[in-house]
């Protein structure tokens, strides 16, 4: 464990991802996480393709490049813990256990979607998985996650509420107020900022004078942590510290995970505000490439085994696309109209 991880006062720096900085792992642990990340990658690639031929409408925000964050974080949580996310939530809900079929069918606007075609890419929910959305208003969902933690404490349950948001949320009121209330009331929340360096086309240094997002925790005497998010095991370990702290002591933590989206903000964004070199540099830290390398080089996993997993994932996503293609259209919102 890194010294800074538990401290609320220390000046937290990004630790270089040198081999000695890597958390030890096993094939049993890493292989399933690798598979989840690969499924998310393929699922999002399939949705990009579908978008380009008009099967998906509206906004579509992909998190390709960020898969280690949602995968590692969800692995650090228990099924009874709550998860709340943004519009860039496909990976989070998939890692939580919702099928690729239900996710893609939702984007296709089909009746078989996870919210029956009423939410779309940005608004996926699954009560069964304690997944509280899928929200489209930057920062608005942060206090909602705090509310779930409020309920956990109200009933004396040892349940944690994790909330994901972007670096662009660090400046909005919903985030600031959610953070303040969780700290004040000692609620079991893990705030996870997926700092992908940009809010749409605006780099972080042009949105905040204090680009270390975790500094916001200092204002509330809150624990904080900050690290690079391209190694899924590291993400899992570091977030697990905050999760356990929340579960055992009700203390919230603000975490900033540095990551990068390889594609534009949404499908309509060609990403002209960043250079090819910058993107190429970040792609060197591709979490999938890293995990695969660790599996083969460090853990001695047979490449054939990894190929077999890739084939399985390919089938899974192809099946989900077929399912979405052949599912009936969403037919009615009437059952979900609030009766007056």
């Amino acid at each position: 464990m890194l010294a800074g991880a538990m401290s609320s006062r220390a000046d937290i720096r990004i630790e270089p991802d040198t081999p000695e900085n890597l958390e030890a792992t096993t094939e049993e642990e890493l292989l399933p996480l690798y598979k989840t990340m690969l499924s998310i990658r393929r699922l999002e690639e399939a949705s990009a393709k579908a978008y380009s031929v008009g099967k998906i409408g509206g906004f579509l925000h992909l998190a390709i490049g960020q898969e280690a964050v949602c995968t590692g974080a969800v692995a650090a949580l228990r099924p009874e813990d709550y998860i709340t996310s943004t519009y860039r939530e496909h990976g989070h809900i998939y890692a939580r256990g919702v099928s690729a079929r239900a996710i893609l069918a939702e984007m296709w606007g089909k009746k078989t979607g996870v919210v029956k075609g009423l939410g779309g890419s940005m608004h996926m929910f699954s009560k069964e998985h304690n997944f509280l959305g899928g929200h489209g208003i930057v920062g608005g969902h942060v206090p909602i996650a705090v509310g779930a933690a409020f309920k956990a404490k109200y009933h004396g349950e040892k349940r944690v509420s994790a909330v994901f948001f972007g670096d662009g949320s660090a400046t909005i009121g919903g985030f600031a107020e959610g953070l303040a209330l969780a700290a004040l009331w000692k609620l079991p929340v893990v705030f996870i900022c997926e700092n992908n360096q940009y809010s749409m086309g605006t780099p972080l240094y042009r949105t905040t004078a204090a680009p270390d997002i975790t500094q916001r925790a200092l204002a509330h005497d809150m624990d904080r942590d900050r690290f690079d998010g391209d190694d899924v095991i590291k993400v899992k370990r570091r977030i697990a510290l905050a999760v356990e702290r929340a579960r055992e002591t009700n203390r919230p933590t603000l975490i900033e995970v540095r990551t990068y989206r390889f594609r534009g903000h949404s499908m309509s964004d060609p990403g002209l505000y960043r250079t090819r070199e910058e993107v190429a540099e970040w792609k060197k830290g591709d979490p999938l490439v890293r995990a695969k390398r660790r599996l083969i080089e460090e853990l001695g996993v047979d490449e054939e085994k990894i190929k077999a997993i890739a084939a399985e994932v390919k089938d899974e996503i192809a099946d989900a696309v077929r399912f979405a293609d052949t599912s009936p259209a969403s037919d009615s919102y009437l059952p979900y109209v609030i009766k007056e």
Binding site: F125, G133, P143, G147, A176
Partner: protein
């Protein structure tokens, strides 16, 4: 039946519902130790402890969102706004989150919560603390909007609101907190969507809610002295809106004046007038008339404040107008 104040009636509703259901809690600024900015929550902290009577810092957006999240996972929050003027900084939670969650999640997440507090003009509190929000919230599918005008309705409607599985915007009138009336003890539930005839009459229908009911009743008495027999109708809940009772009344009287303390442009009265002309055009002997506040932010000076708000004389004049007596 005991005679108590509107404030005490709200307090009784909160107390009884919190006794009945352990998942109900009250959250807002000064609701606990201070006993409520308007003393609506007097004594609740002592009875229910800090766990269920939760003082908040000044963070309406934050604590409204906490309410939405808590409601998603099974609690029944009552969120108090010290005044509905401050709901504006939380309106994203009310509209984008509370109102839409049920449909967006395909029925997976109900939001059984109440946003409540005083709304409408008070006395000389100036432009930022003196305005009406009915029309803002009535516009939104997914919200219910309630405006009690009497202590009995305050209690009965608040109990209904707390038991509702969906978000309710419950607007009290600061000017009515001290008003008194008979209020049934214990279980007293007033359903949403049921208007009440406050005064039966034959010649003109007057529609008003919240504090304006009082003003309209006074106008009706004055009209009686002029030989004009007015019927006064209080919809009590504005969404759902009991348009049927209004139609029935207007079919009988043939004339209608809608009185609201909000502004005219896009006001709820405009919607009511539209629905009335569609449902009973053939019965109307005059176009539906409206009395509203003047189209300005509320001035401070007492005389100007009076000038801006609907007065008895404005209502009398509007009635004379629809009777072609002016």
């Amino acid at each position: 039946m005991p005679i108590i104040s509107y404030r005490e009636a709200l307090n009784a509703a909160l107390r009884e519902e919190m006794q009945r259901d352990e998942t109900v809690f009250l959250m807002g600024e000064e609701v606990g130790h201070y006993q409520g900015a308007y003393k609506v929550s007097q004594g609740l902290l002592e009875e229910f402890s800090e766990r269920r009577v939760v003082d908040t810092p000044i963070a309406e957006l934050g604590f409204s969102g906490v309410g939405v999240g808590a409601a998603m996972v099974g609690l029944r929050p009552v969120i108090e706004f010290m005044s509905f003027n401050f709901s504006l900084v939380a309106i994203d939670q009310i509209i984008n989150h509370a109102a839409k969650m049920y449909q967006m999640s395909a029925g997976q997440f109900h939001i059984p919560m109440v946003f409540r507090g005083p709304s409408g003009p008070a006395v000389q509190v100036g432009a930022q603390h003196s305005q009406s929000f009915e029309s803002y919230y009535c516009y939104v599918p997914g919200l219910k909007v309630v405006c009690p005008s009497t202590p009995a309705d305050a209690k009965g409607l608040l109990k209904t609101a707390i038991r509702d599985d969906n978000p309710v915007v419950f607007m009290e009138s600061e000017l009515l907190y001290n008003s008194t009336g008979e209020v049934p003890e214990g279980e007293h539930l007033v359903p949403f969507g049921k208007a009440e005839i406050k005064r039966a009459g034959k010649e003109v229908t007057l529609i008003a809610w919240s504090k304006m009911v009082e003003v309209v009743l006074e106008a009706a008495t004055e009209l009686e002295a002029l030989g004009i027999d007015a019927e006064v109708l209080d919809p009590r809940s504005l969404r759902p809106l009991d348009i049927d009772s209004m139609v029935e009344s207007v079919k009988k009287t043939g004339r209608c004046v809608i009185v609201e303390v909000g502004w005219s442009m896009c006001g709820l009265g405009a919607e009511i007038a539209f629905q009335l002309q569609r449902e009973c055009l053939d019965y109307l002997d005059a176009p539906v008339e409206r009395v509203t506040s003047d189209d300005v932010p509320m001035p401070y000076a007492k005389n100007l404040e009076q000038e801006v708000m609907p007065q008895v004389k404005d209502i009398v004049a509007a009635v004379k107008h629809v009777l072609y007596l002016d």
